[in-house]
């Protein structure tokens, strides 16, 4: 008897088995989308902490699997949970205590030749972290739309809200993000930052 290659089994089938309590199938499903989860986790943490976030995300997903509504893409749902875990990590007391040390070591390790590249990566990461810090209703649509490429319609189905509401949340999130990034020291003295600073001044 030939068993199908796990990669060939559609998400829906794995999901149906997972909903019946099949942890192996759910594990396969998470492995299939591990790159997305990992991008979220590694955006806000390094080393073992990133591993912890990714693991916590899949455990939370398992625990709340019954609440998943099948009309939205599973990947988007899973990514949203990962973003929530990342947000919690950013707000946790433990992270606030250990961040200064890890941030210092990261800057110290950056070589002179690789400085420009490292700074660019740092800037990108700072933006992702700023998104992770947003409130949930703004964080999920922005993360899923800009970083993971989900359409507004898919995000609306995931949120159970009209598309117009999602767009409104995205706009509100962009404004909040602009204020946050204008004050962010990691963001270089780029044209974008100047615009953000100008927008910040005008909104005051």
């Amino acid at each position: 008897m030939d068993f199908p290659d796990p990669q060939e089994v559609p998400d829906a089938e794995l999901l149906a088995a997972a909903l019946q309590g099949d942890t192996d199938r759910f594990g396969q499903l998470c492995e299939r989308h591990r790159a997305r989860i990992w991008r979220v986790a590694a955006s806000v943490a390094d080393g073992a902490e990133a591993d912890d976030i990714a693991q916590e995300a899949v455990v939370r997903a398992w625990q709340s699997l019954r609440r998943y509504r099948a009309e939205a893409p599973f990947a988007a749902w899973l990514t949203r949970i990962a973003a929530n875990v990342a947000h919690d990590h950013r707000k946790s007391a433990w992270r606030r205590r250990v961040l200064p040390l890890s941030a210092m070591s990261e800057r110290h390790d950056a070589g002179v030749d690789a400085e420009a590249v490292a700074l660019g990566r740092q800037e990108q990461r700072a933006v992702r972290q700023a998104v992770a810090d947003l409130p949930e209703r703004e964080r999920s649509p922005i993360w899923l739309h800009y970083f993971e490429g989900f359409s507004v319609a898919e995000i609306a189905r995931l949120a159970g809200a009209p598309e117009a509401t999602v767009r409104s949340r995205v706009r509100a999130g962009l404004r909040r993000l602009g204020k946050s990034l204008a004050d962010n020291e990691v963001i270089g003295d780029t044209a974008q930052r100047q615009v953000l600073a100008e927008a910040e001044r005008c909104s005051m």
């Binding site: 998470c30 591990r34 590694a42 990461r125 953000l196």
Partner: protein, 237 residues
Amino acid sequence: MQHVSNNRKTDDRGAAAVEALLRAAAKWQPERPIAAGMLADTIARRTRMPRANMARWRWAVAFAPIGAALTLALVMPRDLGKIDRTSPRPRTTSALSVGADQSFVADAKTRDAAAGNQSKPASDVRRNAGRRAPVRISRKTTRVGHRPAGGVRPQTMSGVPSEPSRTTAWTTYSVPRYVAGVSTAAWIRANAPDGEPEYVPAVLDVPLGEMYGEPSDDHSIELDVVPVRYVMEEFNE
């Protein structure tokens, strides 16, 4: 209006700038890839282990009463034997097993008839058998070493008092030493209204798993209330 319009224009430029930063950030990739299989392992570990633990706990809960009963069954005879060995009084507990109760009652009846005392009729004895004595255990205790000689009933070789009192209304009791188990026979120190203490045999109703005092106790223990199932008929008013 011009001001609003300018603000909107600035907002739009700000949003565009933020979007540009977001698009750049979307290209970011972690330096280190996630280990393949780590998430599946996590699911297997974190979701199955609690269930296995729960199963173990269920077994533990199911077998706990049996284990407790077995432990008591093994420990109680040993402890009671220890009490007997260390007691300066006769072997009360062994004499007050269920079988001893019967013989004690029978002996008492025979003795009573022979002595011509005003003993209760046999029908009373039967009627009172198994009656729960409404007694309250006194906190007053008497150390064995300081027990007044007059307070100890003369004993026969079989541990049965030779001159049982049948008219005393027992008011308070104290239980000597250590009692444990479901139903434990013991000599209890009974205080009569006239203040003359007597030691009377009784069957206590100690709940399973509970004990009063410690096996190492060598003196009477202070108790408020010990559930006395019944006091031997010869002593029960």
